[in-house]
């Protein structure tokens, strides 16, 4: 069984934000919510790097551990999904998430954050695959169609990789060996408690 992960090769990311746009379009993500975002570190200084970040689909996911209504589920592929029917919008997953992935449609409105929304690894939700209900709540289920997440598939520099952990780690290692440098697999240590040793 595959273990699906994201890997952002920051030495390739050109901060074009196409992953952000593609994600919003693919899933018709509501205004104000960005399931994926690109953060630029040391902006304008030597050593500037941009990292595309979304839900990392953690091993032993913190969001799942703190949810008071147990609305999360981790699929056999290691994708962390949640049920918007069960979510009460308490905000705990947001406190626990190291990557700022969970978001709420009404953050400023006290007591009614609304149902949490986050990256689904293009794998929908607990509803029947590719049903209209699933699309309305979570967006497209590309994984069920045999496709990888849209953000990684359309990345112009192939900085953002999605797929089985071992496969994308191998690709990254080959790249680092060939070009002679690599600033590391961002977030892997925190999300998966492992790094890619080259």
């Amino acid at each position: 069984m595959a273990r699906m992960k994201f890997l952002c090769d920051a030495d390739r990311c050109i901060e074009c934000n196409a992953c952000v746009t593609a994600c919003k379009n693919e899933h018709e993500v509501p205004w104000g919510i960005n399931r994926r975002r690109v953060v630029t570190i040391n902006d304008g200084k030597p050593g500037e790097r941009s990292v595309s970040m979304a839900c990392m689909h953690c091993t032993d996911a913190p969001c799942q551990a703190v949810c008071p209504v147990d609305c999360f589920l981790t699929t056999a592929d290691g994708v962390v999904l949640h049920s918007k029917d069960l979510c009460i919008g308490c905000g705990y997953c947001f406190y626990a998430c190291p990557f700022g992935a969970p978001q709420y449609p009404k953050t400023g409105n006290f007591g009614s954050r609304g149902k949490m929304d986050k990256c689904t690894y293009c794998a929908g939700g607990p509803e029947a695959d590719n049903s209209p209900e699933e699309y309305a709540k979570y967006g497209a289920n590309r994984l069920a169609q045999g496709k990888l997440p849209i953000c990684a598939e359309m990345c112009s520099t192939k900085a953002l990789l999605a797929g089985d952990s071992e496969m994308i780690a191998t690709i990254y290692k080959e790249r680092v060996l060939k070009r002679g440098y690599g600033s590391g697999a961002w977030g892997w240590k925190v999300a998966y408690r492992e790094t890619i040793a080259v």
């Binding site: 920051a10 030495d11 901060e15 934000n17 952000v20 104000g32 960005n34 975002r37 690109v38 953060v39 630029t40 570190i41 040391n42 902006d43 030597p46 050593g47 500037e48 790097r49 941009s50 990292v51 970040m53 913190p62 551990a65 703190v66 949810c67 008071p68 209504v69 147990d70 609305c71 029917d85 069960l86 979510c87 009460i88 919008g89 308490c90 905000g91 705990y92 947001f94 406190y95 626990a96 998430c97 190291p98 990557f99 700022g100 953050t107 400023g108 006290f110 007591g111 009614s112 954050r113 002679g180 440098y181 690599g182 600033s183 590391g184 961002w186 977030g187 240590k189 925190v190």
Partner: protein, 333 residues
């Protein structure tokens, strides 16, 4: 001739320069590694609690790339907060049960009299029950967030438990405001009777007369135990209100680290306060004969008052005598 010579010389120099550049370029690529100066995750995390950057979407709080502190919060939430709450509440239940079996209900030693005395007026009772009823709902809905998924979820099933928790969350959020109003009134109405005094130490040394029958240390309107309850409610309630408001208005003058700290303080403190309030509820109802009247009708039995609040009864009686005396002297004139 000289012109042509200089032209040739210029061309030769230009070619030489071009050759130098083309030779130098691959040499440069071999010696400079972009990683040497690149931002590195491990280095950034070792110097800072979180990694921030610049973001081009309007949601500026999304510029926090990583905050591993979330995992610390998770640990505190799922272990420290869980166990502090569970142990203090179950411990208090056990302590109260033991106390009840050993000491039994504290009766009025001299038996009920046929006279009563006004202990709390209507406004005092309203303030008490406003705060108390909000507190009970806030406590139960708060406990549901921490313990519901272990206790209620297996009984109710996912859908019903989620619907109940949603209602509980709204109740928790909206009843916070009448609770805060109750706290303010409670402070204003009772603070003058709750200033700690020397007599309180004697009361505490005598154990409040809780264990021995027929022995009641003197006390004014509120004894030392009640004063402790008062300041726990006022002090703890204030901290719970502030931290609660921080969570009600996310990112309003706060960053995620503040909300994590606020939630931790809110959760741990409320577990302790719930345990204290359980003792208060016990002694005010089943634990003591005549105590509930104070907050029910406001009129307490005179013998009860003499035993538990001797100095207060003397004060009230002295005031009444004075009033009587004045009325008589007015009538005589």
């Amino acid at each position: 001739m000289t012109d042509r010579n200089s032209n040739w010389r210029n061309l030769a120099l230009a070619l030489l320069g071009l050759a130098l550049i083309t030779v130098a370029q691959p040499m440069q690529a071999q010696t400079v590694t972009p990683t040497a100066s690149a931002a590195k995750e491990e280095q950034l995390l070792s110097t800072m609690k979180q990694i921030d950057g610049r973001i081009s979407i309007p949601d500026q709080k999304a510029s926090v790339l990583m905050q591993p502190a979330g995992q610390e919060w998770r640990k505190v939430h799922n272990t420290t907060m869980f166990w502090v709450g569970a142990v203090s509440i179950l411990g208090m239940m056990l302590a109260l049960t033991l106390f009840y079996t050993i000491r039994g209900r504290i009766m009025i030693d001299s038996g009920p009299s046929d006279r009563t005395i006004l202990r709390f007026n209507g406004f005092e009772r309203f303030v008490h029950w406003l705060t108390a009823s909000c507190f009970i709902v806030l406590a139960l809905s708060g406990l549901n967030v921490s313990f519901g998924k272990y206790l209620l979820l297996p009984l109710l099933g996912a859908d019903s438990f989620s619907a109940l928790s949603q209602l509980a969350k709204y109740a928790h959020n909206f009843l916070a405001f009448p609770f805060i109003i109750g706290l303010v009134f409670m402070f204003l109405v009772w603070v003058k009777d709750n200033i700690p005094e020397g007599g309180d130490l004697d009361w505490l040394k005598a154990g409040g007369g809780l264990m021995g029958k027929g022995h009641h240390p003197p006390a004014k309107k509120f004894n030392a135990g009640q004063k402790i309850i008062f300041w726990v409610v006022i002090g703890g309630g204030t901290v719970l209100s502030v931290t609660g408001l921080m969570l009600l208005f996310p990112f309003t003058g706060t960053v995620i680290a503040d909300m994590q700290l606020g939630q931790t303080v809110h959760g741990i403190l409320s577990g302790l306060i719930i345990a204290v309030m359980m003792a208060h509820i016990y002694i005010g109802s089943v634990g003591m004969e005549g105590a509930i009247d104070a907050m029910n009708t406001g009129e307490v039995d005179l013998n009860w008052a003499r035993e538990h609040h001797s100095l207060w009864v003397e004060e009230v009686e002295a005031q009444e005598r004075e009033a009587d005396h004045k009325a008589k002297s007015v009538a005589a004139e």
